[in-house]
Point group: C3
Chain length 268, copies 3
Amino acid sequence: MSPTTQSIWADLTQIRAQAPLVHNITNFVVMNNTANALLALGASPAMVHAPEEVEDFVSISSSLVVNIGTLDDHFVTGMTLAMRRAKELGKPIVFDPVGVGATAYRNQVSQDLLTLATPTVIRGNASEIMALAGLNAQTKGVDSLFGSDAALDAARRLSSVWGCVVVISGATDYIVLGDQVASVANGHSLMTKVTGMGCTATALTGAFAAVNTNYFQAATHAMAVMGIAGELAAEKKLAPGSLQVNFLDALYTLTESEIDDRLKLTWS
Amino acid sequence: MSPTTQSIWADLTQIRAQAPLVHNITNFVVMNNTANALLALGASPAMVHAPEEVEDFVSISSSLVVNIGTLDDHFVTGMTLAMRRAKELGKPIVFDPVGVGATAYRNQVSQDLLTLATPTVIRGNASEIMALAGLNAQTKGVDSLFGSDAALDAARRLSSVWGCVVVISGATDYIVLGDQVASVANGHSLMTKVTGMGCTATALTGAFAAVNTNYFQAATHAMAVMGIAGELAAEKKLAPGSLQVNFLDALYTLTESEIDDRLKLTWS
Amino acid sequence: MSPTTQSIWADLTQIRAQAPLVHNITNFVVMNNTANALLALGASPAMVHAPEEVEDFVSISSSLVVNIGTLDDHFVTGMTLAMRRAKELGKPIVFDPVGVGATAYRNQVSQDLLTLATPTVIRGNASEIMALAGLNAQTKGVDSLFGSDAALDAARRLSSVWGCVVVISGATDYIVLGDQVASVANGHSLMTKVTGMGCTATALTGAFAAVNTNYFQAATHAMAVMGIAGELAAEKKLAPGSLQVNFLDALYTLTESEIDDRLKLTWS
């Protein structure tokens, strides 16, 4: 096994052993499948957004995942309280700016949340990362119009402004922290035909960040595991209904050899 | 290939090529599976309901789907703003009056939305179409107590009052515009054992209406594709968990021959 | 067939024949899969939470299921109105205190709802039942830290204070009413790796309570059917994505012999 495989495997083993509680404030579309992906990975997910309880819940959780997919004002209140509390307690925050760039509201909320409590990791597609970095990226709703490499400069800028890890998802995923860039070329194009696979990548990053405080590494490991499970699933059957099922199965049964055999990870 | 098959195939090809952005304001139960059905068909779905952004989002979308399944006041505000904006911009609106007839609230909201901005297409089961037409149809929650043919007069009345296409789903689907009626006898009874298949038909209609401005045709094509994909899925395995998976797979892999071999469509 | 099998089968046959309308006010994570589980069982589910209509909806439903998974204030208003109305009309209420014990808010809302309108059946995991009984049980988010037998005293106390059936889910499920205890040792540990299987058990209990006014029996039958369908699914494939699909298939196709062959139910 390569040292990187061993390092991914160490994280995964710890997730499976400890089942860290991952607190999600996420969108309605993906609540079910991200909860299932976290369970299949070995973590313990909870979806809690009420202003009355998010602070209490953050305090018992190992990490916080915030996703603005089906944004509305009521959820923003919960996100605000939860992120502030996570920051006070030093718990990792993973932020997914779904659809940022598509509306002024999404842009404003994203900026407000970043300013309030800088996330540990930001994960988005190329359009989202470019929009968040203040570049006038065009978006197509929640889908990207660009390849992930087009957003590398934006990711570097975001990472340096906010001092956090930035992940660009795409055919190749880039994980950026300051001058460091890792790239993961795992995954399968069919994954874009299943809703919420990006959101799932964000949620899994929350689980890895719960067990590995080297967050650059944690995010990279999450993207590798995500991509490899996606490949395994796509090879079972090239159709999106089956992919969703087979992806969860692959996550649950993932072995160290499967990781080692398939890993396409470059640190630079 | 029959001319009708060719016409359906032309729409489907255009959806797959253009991936039109379909803006959904829909219920919590089906957000995930209607997003997946739209993706499997080839469209680009987004679920956006916040009053702060629905107008912006309508303006970048190709069509708007409004579904009152898990209705509440907050969503009604979003629906109102979105439908008004879609009307101003001349974008097609597909409306699904889930459970209308079951409560006074659902009746009131449906009438208010129709009056505010007449949809391009209304799709419901027989009970819903009858209730919406002001007939005192009994409903059983969100399920119909009638065969689809029982609602034909109600559909004609609705279509003539509002000047829009009306679709009645059932063992046979009827698509009505003024004096024109098309009927689609595809589909499988097992589809009623999977939640949100009606909502999925509505969402797919949104995708067809995004590429075909003959909305009577667009709605008919959507019901044909829905029914044929359902048949293909039911023939794989006669059980509802599998049906949901196989339905998405069938939508994604659907070929022109499969449509031509199975199509049971009558224009009259 | 054993008398117990016959009694379970009688309920199941009635559910399939009558398709009772089960009104759910439940959490966003599980709305889709609990609706699908109720459909696969043979019931007619509806998810309705708006304060404007829950009372009307309760009055046309056969039972009410209230689940506090993704609790917030707006839903609490709907739950309050619905439970009060169900009580007035003598309709069975099944209550699932998801995550109670994890936050003060959850504890308060649960106590308020119990006081307002005692449920017919309360179903939770061991941590939840202990927390609800006022024991200082530790929870881990929405997962239990205890085996189900650890909560037997708490269940007896809850049952005697509120005069209702209390179900503790776990490797062995306990169903408690006063001095009576039934235990069901069916099920499979993989079920804990699929989100919302507990919520599904609660929803199925709503369907059984709709056709059997011996609620102790109804709850026991629901847990038996749940466990057996879970076993059948786990035996098809030992992976969580497949389990969810195969569970729905097994529920839908469940036969009297499958129940009789597998039932591990003890009345004491």
